[in-house]
């Protein structure tokens, strides 16, 4: 049996007459980057919502490390090892870079219930937060307010916060969004090395990044996975070309 870290089985979700997810079964194996691509409105966000816990599927189930997490809340899934990044940076803008990273470290330790000692004075939390910032290249900006960061730096911090969780699997919603060519290239290199730590479910519009990184690609169209396969298989799949890649492939 192939070991899977994260998997969905027949996930279905409707909004009124619209089937946003129709019987979706995908899996994420150790060491891989599995990219989800699809045109706007294909149901990528809905799928991520169900995997991460903000949306409940009408049918089907989600498993993390072989454990059924379908009924768990978002925060429970995060504690179980799901590290996600948001398409639009979700960071505490008034707080510093280090505080944002510490938040992740705190959540991972599962104990925010301390009211007296200073969060930033906690050595283990701080070490974890600083290590993550170091890795994404934000170590020099620790004391900056998040609001004063550039867009690219916020994207980096977004990844760093997920790193502090030391998750079993990453779910990344368009981590390249709004990055320039240079930033996109750097992040691509970083994610390439990250997959050895924990596999990545990557939703991304940047096709260069997807083709450079993905071990497997699933194509989502109108709420259905129409194809899953290697980069070459997907590139040459006629249905995919028709539905999505069009002339650009």
């Amino acid at each position: 049996m192939t070991e899977t870290i994260l998997a969905t089985y027949g996930i279905t979700k409707s909004f009124g007459a619209l089937k946003a997810s129709n019987d979706i079964s995908i899996d994420l194996r150790p060491g891989e980057i599995h990219a989800i691509i699809g045109p706007n409105g294909a149901g990528k966000s809905t799928l991520i919502g169900q995997i991460c816990g903000s949306l409940a599927p009408d049918a089907g189930r989600v498993e993390l490390m072989g454990q059924d997490v379908t009924t768990l809340s978002t925060d429970q899934r995060a504690r179980a090892g799901l590290g996600r990044t948001f398409q639009i940076s979700a960071l505490a803008m008034e707080d510093t870079v280090l505080e944002n990273a510490t938040l992740g470290a705190m959540g991972a330790s599962g104990r925010p219930w301390r009211f007296w000692s200073a969060a930033l004075g906690d050595r283990s939390l701080r070490a974890r937060a600083e290590a993550a910032l170091e890795r994404v290249g934000l170590a020099d900006h620790k004391t900056k307010r998040c609001a004063d960061l550039s867009h690219g730096q916020r994207r980096q911090l977004e990844v760093a916060v997920a790193l502090t969780l030391e998750p079993k699997a990453f779910v990344m919603d368009e981590p390249m969004a709004g990055l320039g060519a240079e930033g996109s290239k750097n992040l691509t290199g970083f994610l390439d090395s990250l997959r050895q730590e924990a596999p990545i479910l990557l939703v991304e519009h940047d096709m260069d990044a997807v083709f450079a990184l993905a071990d497997r690609i699933s194509v989502l169209v109108y709420g259905e996975v129409i194809a899953t396969g290697s980069v070459d298989q997907i590139r040459s799949d006629p249905r995919v070309r028709e539905a999505y890649l069009g002339e650009s492939a």
Binding site: C52, G53, S54, S73, T74, D75, Q76, A78, R79, G83, R84, F86, A90, L91, A92, M93, E94, D95, T96, L98, E99, N100, T102, L103, G104, M106, G107, A108, G110, R111, P112, W113, R114, F115, W116, S117, A118, A119, L120, D122, L125, K142, T143, R145, V161, A162, T164, L165
Partner: protein, 327 residues
Amino acid sequence: MSRETLFNAALLLGLIAVPAWAVMTDEPFTITLATRAVILALAAAGLNIALGIGGLVSLGHAVFFGIGGYAMGILAHHAQSYTPLMEWPFLIEGTKFMPLIWLLAIVVSALVALVIGILSLRTTGAYFIMITLAFGQMFYYFAISWSTYGGEDGMSIYVRNDFPGLNTLAPIQFYGLCLAILVVVLVFSARLRRSPFGLALNAARQVPARVEAVGMDPMRLKLVAFVISGVITGLAGALFADLNRFVSPTMFSWQFSGEIMILVILGGVGRLFGPVAGAVTFVALEHFLGGITEFWHIFLGLILLAVVLFARGGITGLVAGKEATHD
């Protein structure tokens, strides 16, 4: 030292100096005024944890203020009339002992905050404001119809309650007691905002989705903040009742909830000494403008308008600028 720290220190020193000033100028009433400011600051410091850090716009904090007041009123009433609070299944007598009164105020405030919090935190924005307001009105009308304890007229307590080692009837000593409690709460607030809980709560106000995504439940964080907040305001209510030696349903009124919120906004939402700056300003306006015209609220309204429009950080923000980031 940042400007805000200097401002805070100046405020605190000013409060400590009030008794000396009152004695020198031979105006003992100043101490009573200052006591009122300190107790209101305490009530607002409670709200500031829910509102300032947690972003919970509670228009029902008078509930806790009133609970504190009635905890004092009921226990002292039974003590002064030598009637037991209840005889069955076990005997509970009234008391004039402040620490016991505070304990009751704290415990009941915590339980009520827990229930109100669980029910109202399901909502956000205007609905949250309305639900907390509704709870406030429930308690208000309950107090009005509670004829055992004075109904609409409230209760007078003839002698101020006791605190070991102090003559609480001496204004200076009671003032010192209230100020000491305020300082303890401010120290706790200062620690809290830098603690893991404070960091998480602060983030839960700004980006709940992020807090969830790193494995914490924003609702639970806010609920705990609401309880802590209610407890502090409840304690302030017990002291306020002791200051006036009088308890009435007014303590539960929505106008009072609004007043606590005004103190926080005036002083600077989320700023450590914001409630203190707000309460001192409020009591000063009430006293001096109130001496000139009974329509002094018009001026309070204008000042509040100015603060909301032009000085988002309230008085603290005006004097000390934006909040400094800490390493």
